[in-house]
């Protein structure tokens, strides 16, 4: 019986700006083989490997994967992206956030691949690779060589523990690895092939090539030359496969990093606090009469609005060492939507709106205003959370640009002023006349509905359009 194809590319065309990097490339990776991808610098090795991971838009062709027995499109030139399960990926840069610990990173990669936690096996592997004493250290505290070990492990361990044949894509894995880890890597590559997994390794390293069953050389004109060879290297004994289990790991990852290093909460909270204090100072000169309710409503909502439009920390976390690309490859089609939801300001809007209200509306105002305000203020906090999802999607769009740091992305956020004004109008109505459920223009519920719809529309545009 011939070996099953685990990953294939047909007629792949990938452009980088005006330059065609891959022209009509056909490639396949079968179960139980280690394939070395060779070629001179600039021939497109990394682009091919990353395209197979679904990271690059294609001008032509498609990439298919046999995922748990089903033929699934990883990506094609039509913009289609299938729902694929996690696999093994080690990019040329680490693709990890420095705030993760070693154990968290490798365990996280296993969870993304749909595996149940197997702490015993993981601890054993981490110790074997000389990282036992670093298991609970943040990755940013490790030397370059140790970080590379973690990056390689987070690609090969999830596949090694997978009972179904899976795929590992490694881009220059031995670069930066010390001699003893290289030896371990070669043993692992052979062992993965023995278990029926398919491994593609882009490399210049002659030692790594000795572990391959086949080499594919890519020329500068994207012609592939395949050569079968025999590897006599010894394989390592891999641990037993783990059971399958579904995890929502991106959510856990975001929350874990924020708890450890709360740059999102602080980054949003500080400008909101300054806005709150300024709003309070401004409000002291405003008479608490009904003709000024629109101004007071705007001042009450401004600090929470600011928490929503500030650049979310997830943008910085995804940009670090191409961590975002690793997650994009793992989460496939749904990545952008999930990133925008993970970039939302969840904690701050509710308390900030209530604090603004208590600070800005003084005792006399509280007596004069309609008591419905207190009852319905939470609704505005939830609208701000919605607005924050759209803001985060807009930030993600900007972050796709090659030099995102050189762009004044905040200008794009000004589009969110429109739903903000609708919210102000709704709050003004409630302050003056109380809550009304009448669906007519100018009534609070209609203003809230318009604000909500605008936000949803903006979010959908920012998430869906760039993927097509």
């Amino acid at each position: 019986m011939s070996a099953r194809t685990l990953l294939s590319a047909r007629g792949l065309v990938v452009d980088r700006g005006a330059r065609k990097v891959l022209r009509d490339v056909d490639f396949s990776l079968s179960e139980g083989e280690v394939v070395g991808l060779l070629g001179v610098n600039g021939s497109g090795k990394s682009t091919l490997l990353e395209s197979l991971a679904g990271l690059h838009p294609m001008t032509g062709g498609s990439v298919q994967r046999n995922d748990r027995g089903f033929e699934t499109t990883v990506r094609d030139s039509e913009g289609q992206r299938g729902d694929i399960s996690g696999f093994g990926l080690c990019l040329q840069t680490e693709g990890m956030s420095g705030d993760e610990t070693v154990l968290e990173r490798i365990r996280g990669a296993c969870r993304v691949a749909g595996l149940a936690d197997n702490s015993e096996a993981l601890n054993e592997i981490i110790s074997e690779w000389g990282l036992g004493h670093r298991a609970d250290d943040r990755i940013c505290k490790l030397s370059g060589g140790l970080r590379r070990r973690v990056a390689v492990l987070s690609a090969i361990v999830p596949v090694a523990l997978n009972s179904e044949p899976s795929v590992v894509l490694l881009d220059e894995p031995s670069e930066g690895l010390d001699q003893s880890s290289r030896g371990q890597l070669l043993g692992w590559l052979r062992a993965l092939a023995m278990r029926g997994h398919g491994v593609l390794v882009a490399t210049h390293d002659p030692e790594v090539i000795t572990a391959c069953d086949r080499t594919v050389t890519i020329s500068e004109t994207s012609e592939l030359t395949s050569k079968v060879q025999e590897s006599n290297l010894e394989h390592t004994n891999l641990p037993d496969p783990s059971a399958s289990e579904y995890h929502r790991e991106l959510v856990a990852w975001t929350w874990r990093l924020e708890r450890r290093n709360p740059i999102d909460t602080i980054g949003r909270g500080v400008p909101a606090l300054v806005a709150l204090l300024l709003a309070f100072t401004l409000s002291t000169d405003i008479a608490r009469s009904s003709e000024n309710y629109d101004l007071l409503a705007a001042l009450i909502l401004t600090p929470a609005f600011i928490t929503a439009i500030v650049t979310p920390a997830i943008i910085k976390r995804l940009a670090e060492e191409r961590a975002g690309d690793w997650w994009r490859a793992m989460t496939g089609a749904s990545s952008r939507g999930w990133f925008s939801i993970m970039g939302v300001s969840l904690i701050l809007p509710l308390p900030i709106i209530y604090i603004s209200w208590f600070v800005i509306a003084d005792d006399t105002a509280l007596e004069a205003m309609n008591s419905d305000v207190m009852l319905w203020l939470w609704l505005f906090a939830f609208l701000i959370i919605d607005l924050s999802v759209a803001a985060s999607a807009l930030h993600l769009m900007v972050s796709d640009l090659t030099r995102a740091g050189a762009v004044a992305g905040i200008l794009l956020q000004l589009v969110l002023i429109w739903p903000f004004l609708q919210m102000t109008s709704a709050l003004t109505s409630i302050m003056s006349n109380g809550m009304s459920f009448e669906l007519a223009l100018g009534e609070p519920i209609a203003d809230i509905a318009i604000a909500w719809l605008t936000v949803v529309l903006l979010w959908a545009m920012a998430v869906i359009i760039p993927e097509d």
């Binding site: 990282l131 670093r134 943040r138 940013c140 505290k141 060589g145 140790l146 003893s180 290093n261 740059i263």
Partner: protein, 241 residues
């Protein structure tokens, strides 16, 4: 018991002391008459906050002095011990600074009817000091421990300390609503009785005991952390070779 172990005793004693101060401060210490020679107080009982608020403020100045010492010594000697003081100073600065900038606005909103005064340099510079300390704590944890990062962070520590004299002198240089420098100024103008002053000094004394205990323990923690890190580096080398 050696000096480093005395940190435990001083911390427990100091904690018991400030719990004692809290009970006395809230229940038995002299409060204020609603109106005294200096004027009327809007919320005389909130004045009790001062018995912890002021010692907290002084301790945060001490923390920043330690941070300054650590930063300066790091620059001059590049010694591991200086870095230990730098780390302890920034941690303690956050704890005592947060205590001051949260209790201050609570007192202010009761007394002045508003939590913050933008015209008050002392409030603003105190918030800035605490923000600098918080920045140092989070940055230290999130960055690789390299000499370049230590140099940058200790430069920020020196900058933080430059804010201290501005903060301390702020109420004298700028005409503000914040109470004058307590004790140093005449108690009469604030209606502070000698009993209040004595109680405040007792509170500060106990807070100093706690502060010393925490400093000794914090230094112990960072010395241990340095040992652990050095042992891990040895193991890294052994694993590579």
């Amino acid at each position: 018991m050696n000096f480093r172990d005395s940190g435990y005793a001083l911390t427990y004693l100091g904690l018991a002391g400030i719990v004692f101060v809290a009970i006395l401060g809230l229940e038995y210490a002299p409060g204020l008459k609603p109106c005294t020679g200096g004027g009327c107080w809007g919320a005389p009982e909130a004045y009790r906050i001062l018995y912890l608020h002021v010692p907290f403020a002084w301790c945060s100045f001490l923390s920043f002095s330690i941070l300054f010492y650590g930063s300066l010594m790091w620059y001059l000697k590049r010694s591991e011990d200086a870095w230990v003081y730098f780390q302890s100073g920034s941690d303690l600065g956050v704890i005592f600074g947060l205590g001051v900038i949260t209790s201050g606005p609570i007192w202010a909103s009761a007394e002045w009817g508003r939590p913050w005064d933008w015209g008050d340099m002392r409030l603003n510079s105190f918030a800035l000091l605490t923000a600098v300390a918080l920045f140092l704590v989070y940055s230290r944890q999130s960055q690789p421990d390299t000499q370049q990062n230590r140099d940058t962070l200790s430069a920020v520590g020196l900058f933080g300390f430059a804010l201290v004299p501005i903060t301390a002198g702020a109420t004298t240089w700028w005409d503000t609503t914040h109470p004058e420098v307590l004790i140093v100024e005449s108690g009469e103008t604030l209606g502070m009785s000698p009993e209040v002053r004595s109680f405040l000094l007792i509170s500060f004394g106990l807070m100093c005991i706690l502060f010393t205990g925490l400093l000794i323990l914090s230094n112990k923690r960072y010395r241990l952390a340095a040992e652990v890190s050095s042992r891990k580096n040895e193991l890294d080398q052994e694993a590579i070779s």
